[in-house]
Amino acid sequence: MTLDPVITLQQVNKIYSNGTIALQNLNLDIQPYSFVSLVGPSGCGKSTVLRLIAGLGRMSSGNIAWSSTHTAHKLAYVFQEAALMPWATVLDNVRLPLKLQKASRSEQLSAASDAIARVGLQGFERCYPRELSGGMKMRVSIARALATKPDILLMDEPFGALDEITRSRLNDDLLNLWNQMNLTVIFVTHNVYEAVYLSDRVVVMASRPGRVTAEIDIDAPYPRDEDYRTSALFNQYCRDVSHRLAEASLELSIVS
């Protein structure tokens, strides 16, 4: 069933002043309430796509259209580093977006406490970032993103710097949040297994020039758990994605 996409990228090009083609004729549809992963090697432009959607930076040409039927367009962004304000407590960090949007103090505090509870950090409101582990800092970053109850969550390799155990726990927590809060998630990663575990659609990208080479629908049911991770279906999808990734780099080595 294809609904109207909430975001459409049409023929997007981005060329840096030194001639590097970050994105070339990129076309991409994002369906509402989907979990889309962008997978590709370094330099393929996947972070650039995310930043352009968020309004950070300008396209050289092309268009990013936002649906008028799905008017749920509130954005939130989670960076690769937690990017917390080290001089502020967890609570103050999480309520920052609400403060910037001039919400009332009681609204700020209740929404922030709610978000902190959602990511499982209840009790840590008055701690400072330096007192937290890497995984906890990332949870705070996610709580901050969720504080404004966004519709679209953009995540740029958020779990890349974490250990396997924490990453796996956060993957499951993220899927729960996606389900509970009716989000549309666009998730950038270089980890094929993570992409296949989390998403319902994997977009494979290649570099030089940055472009989409394949889109693979992951037809596995939610909720997903360890059984899925060890199933034949999972392995098949991982193989497909890996093949597509390898094809693209093979093209590159033949051409050069």
Binding site: G55, A76, F79, M85, G120, F124, R130
Partner: protein, 287 residues
């Protein structure tokens, strides 16, 4: 499957003990405070012994004991002078802080403003007070106090501007992007991110500037050679020099040194208090 709750270690994190008077006493008598005091006492003893052994006359190099006696004897004249010098220092320091921060904020608003005006801020730093002080005092004939404050301000201004600009510009680019995504106004970015981020740099500039304000105040008065009732420690030094009251001169110098140390210690304590929650320079760790 529920989101797994991270268990807070309530005892370790949530209870932040207030510093008790017993802890304060322990900190004052700690090795960090005792060690330099012991070094100071040893140096003073060595000085006194050397002066006595070599029979150096007091008009060449008085021993610390004689200086101490002079300090107590002339306290009635030295104290008002000390207060005048401190008044000039504090006025100049305050002006340097207020104007320094405002100018730094201005510079950060636009690259062109910074490029156009920064060299002139540097000019202030390189201006020799020794040459300029008499001129300024002449221009402000009726208000010597203001003239001295301006001279001290010239010396103290630049470190605050330079360090604060550095701090305001050294923001985490991810945080900047975050503010952009939420469409924060220029002022919100300044108040909620740039200024708190600049705090360690600003405090570092403060510590440099505090001492310079004192030096500026003393040098300005020294060079101007002002007399009369509104006279600071530099005047005392000059007069003691003319009258060959060398122990009194040393007593004045000692008061200046003590003031300098006190200013530095106060600013360091302030810096640590403001940064103790988050900045590496002030955080207490186990190792």
């Amino acid at each position: 499957m529920d989101i797994q709750q991270v268990t807070p270690l309530k005892r370790r994190i949530q209870s932040r003990p207030r510093v008790s008077s017993a802890q304060l006493l322990r900190r004052i008598t700690s090795i960090e405070v005792i060690a330099p005091v012991i070094v100071g006492i040893v140096l003073l003893l060595t000085w006194e012994i050397l002066v006595r052994i070599t029979n150096t006359p007091p008009y060449l190099l008085p021993g610390p004991l004689l200086i101490g006696q002079t300090l107590i004897k002339d306290w009635g004249e030295l104290l008002p002078s000390l207060l005048i010098t401190l008044k000039i220092t504090i006025a100049a320091f305050t002006a340097a802080i207020v104007l320094g921060v405002l100018v730094a904020i201005l510079f950060v608003q636009s690259k062109w403003i910074e490029r156009s005006f920064f060299p002139y801020a540097v000019l202030l730093q390189t201006t020799p007070i020794v040459a300029v002080a008499p001129l300024i005092i002449l221009w402000l004939k009726n208000n010597t106090f203001a003239a001295l404050v301006i001279c001290a301000w010239i010396v103290a201004f630049f470190p605050i501007v330079s360090n604060t600009v550095m701090g305001l510009n050294s923001t985490d680019h991810n945080l900047l992007n975050l503010f952009q995504i939420y469409r924060a106004s220029r002022w919100q970015t300044l108040f909620y991110m740039r200024l708190p981020n600049a705090m360690p740099y600003f405090l570092s500039g403060l510590r440099i500037s505090g001492g310079l304000s004192l030096i500026g105040a003393v040098v300005a008065e020294f060079v101007a050679g002002t007399g009369g009732t509104e006279s600071g420690l530099a005047y005392q030094i000059l007069m003691a020099g003319y009258n060959l009251q060398i122990p009194r001169m040393f007593a004045s110098l000692f008061l200046i040194a003590l003031s300098g140390i006190a200013i530095f210690v106060l600013l360091t304590v302030l810096s640590n208090a403001l940064l103790k929650n988050w900045h590496e320079s002030a955080v207490r760790r186990e190792n």
